[in-house]
Assembly symmetry: C4
């Protein structure tokens, strides 16, 4: 069932290992089949080196297990909020990658200091507001997803133009049209986070690039006017 999606979600999880974003059983990637409304997600606490497509868990959008013998990732409910709220999202990734997590722990949004950032994120990488005690003690994972949505809605942000977020005191979530694109965006987010911290160490007064430069780079890679890459790639 959903064999191709299982393969892709496994590959997205392994990409996180290969790129150094996760160690041990950290992190999780999922993907959704919009036709059936079913989600494929990494099992909880299973080492990556032993993981097979058959270990992945299939749930519906309410989190009921449809197929799989293992427990799904403990962050499943956060993924589900994102899938239910944003129909453009086909894959979600969560990591504790070092630099992005440091920004999340610092509770600072990542300003757009250069074109690498602008190539992928249209605007700063936002950070959520901390959860209230009651939101932590009940339905914590779902409330984490709701805090992300609240931040995007309150800030007028478009998840197709801002493919990731920092959850305050926790770490990054990234997404994309597919699970592999979500993993790719998680790698980029870590790269941006590391460079932004280094930039501000060199020059604490460094300021964001101009709107014109930001737009030029973002729209060179996104939307109908994009010229980057190959037409049929």
């Amino acid at each position: 069932m959903l064999d191709a999606l299982r393969e892709e979600v496994l590959e997205a999880n392994l990409e996180l290992v290969r790129r150094g974003l996760v160690i041990y059983t950290f992190g999780n990637a999922s993907g959704i089949d919009r036709g059936s409304g079913l989600v494929v997600i990494k099992p909880s606490g299973v080492p990556y080196e032993k993981m097979t497509p058959a270990d992945l868990v299939i749930t519906d959008l309410e989190g009921r297990i449809i197929e799989g013998k293992l427990r799904p990732s403990s962050d499943l409910d956060t993924h589900l909020v994102l899938y239910r709220t944003y129909l453009s999202i086909g894959g979600v990734v969560h990591t504790h990658s070092e630099a992005a997590t440091a920004w999340a722990q610092a509770r600072k949004e990542i300003p757009c200091l250069g074109t690498t950032h602008a190539d992928y994120f249209h605007g700063p990488v936002p950070v959520t507001h901390p959860l209230e005690p009651a939101e932590i003690q009940n339905d914590y994972e779902e409330n984490t997803g709701i805090a992300i949505v609240r931040r995007f809605t309150g800030g007028g942000l478009n998840p197709s133009e801002v493919p990731g977020v920092l959850v305050a005191g926790h770490g990054p979530f990234a997404w994309g049209e597919t699970a592999l694109e979500a993993a790719h965006n998680a790698v980029i987010l870590e790269y941006l986070a590391k460079m932004a911290a280094a930039t501000l160490t060199i020059n604490p007064a460094a300021s964001p690039i101009s709107t014109e430069l930001h737009d030029q780079h973002f729209f060179r890679k996104h939307g109908s006017g994009a010229t980057y890459g190959q037409p049929d790639c």
Copy 2:
């Protein structure tokens, strides 16, 4: 004698190499067989690439060599204090891993700035008080262990909830129910230490996460109410 424990302790030592926590002959891991009260520990100054299970040294809880042709790790007496004091500890690891050692050298406890930390340590990672000259000049390694215990007792800390410590001006010790879990906790401690330093570089005023968030994450992975991972893993 104690062949399975020898294998596990060797594996714990090699895990430190694989994860980049030690170079050359740095670091040491040990494990205890509580039935016989015997400890298996790395030999002193032997390169990891040549180490075999037979090279490991077996001592009793007073440090008398029971089996082995090589000298035990020079830090043996620190390990023994921990085993004698805390019956819940089955494995001990000592490294000079870069980030955790930097915190130990800075003589600062590592505050809990995020959920990665809270997943493993219930509270900050404590730092010992420096030893007095007389404690250094006599029974130095044993006194290092006593300084750790003093810090835990004085601070009302539970070694099952705080599986590691920074020895001031020296480096980290970590422990667990087994030697492999001790090595795992040493890797996590290094990871936390690196992220905490990066966080405070980004935002020197970053504050610890709330007690509610800390507890939520710690008890999601520990104790009878844990939901992380697989029931039979």
Copy 3:
């Protein structure tokens, strides 16, 4: 057509991957055949692991495609400005390597703090002035090249003695007599950038080395009096 140059340019691109300067499809290297005035450049958005010499694109100095089925790198026009302006340049490389990009984002030139820098760059690594909005919105890539030339001309800089530049808010370009030398200089630039940032973290008041030391090292490796390396290497 230009098979040897294709091989060299591919090798220069792969050197960027091997040395950790680029991930995914980041970065681009090109080389020019001065006899025919033809440029060989990396295609846009093609993963390095799949790239073959045949995938590279050949253009003339005006950017017209002479051979190749794929789109050339989106930064082609910047390369072409450099080739048209400086006849001594035989290869150009652009990356978003972490430390050099951090300096570019900080909009700070890299001072010559030591002999490693002086071995390769005669003077600081300059940074361009930000482009005006109109320069970004029209012929952006060509205007990026013009901003580099303007910085060199205005500063009285010689591209044979200063084989690289930081484009403000963007990242480094490096060059050399060949594509491989350009890649080599890009690696060195990243190395210098990382060490300069670390130096200023240790000592914010660190000052550049003396003119005498700078010249001694630069001319030990460059020009008719060079003594470094082997006479026939």
Copy 4:
């Protein structure tokens, strides 16, 4: 001629590559045969991956080439000053390793902030005074060696207890009883340098460890009372 020493010096050079202390043709290691007074050193500007024992150059203590078709390392004269001045030195290594070079560029000695440092260096890692213009323009490499000796003599330092130095604005030299020990000490120096910088970032007021702790660690590994390692290792 001197085949075993050739092998060891090649191995010491390759150790610098394996441990990430050098890239391309950076760095150089040498060893001396005290019986004949002959020095084996890396050739200048030859890539490590192609180097064979036969490529190494043999000179006498005045730098006259005794055997070898290639030019010796351009830093030969610095090595020779150290061999002529300190009879206890059997091997010398020079690198531009990142963290140690950053300290050299910052012109700050590395304080002994922890026991890792104390295990190898008895006191801070010293930094030389900058050379005068005339010392740079004539016999530069020899004067670099003289500046090291001047720093040790002026500071009452013993090269057997302080097996390395930072040359101001340049980078580290390390030494030992053999070429391999010199390479080992260069690796340790880089490790110490990295941790010291990280320590001061975490706590700018961090102070050196006590004399008692410093001595305890240094003499646990050095001198007649050493207890670290195996008696016959």
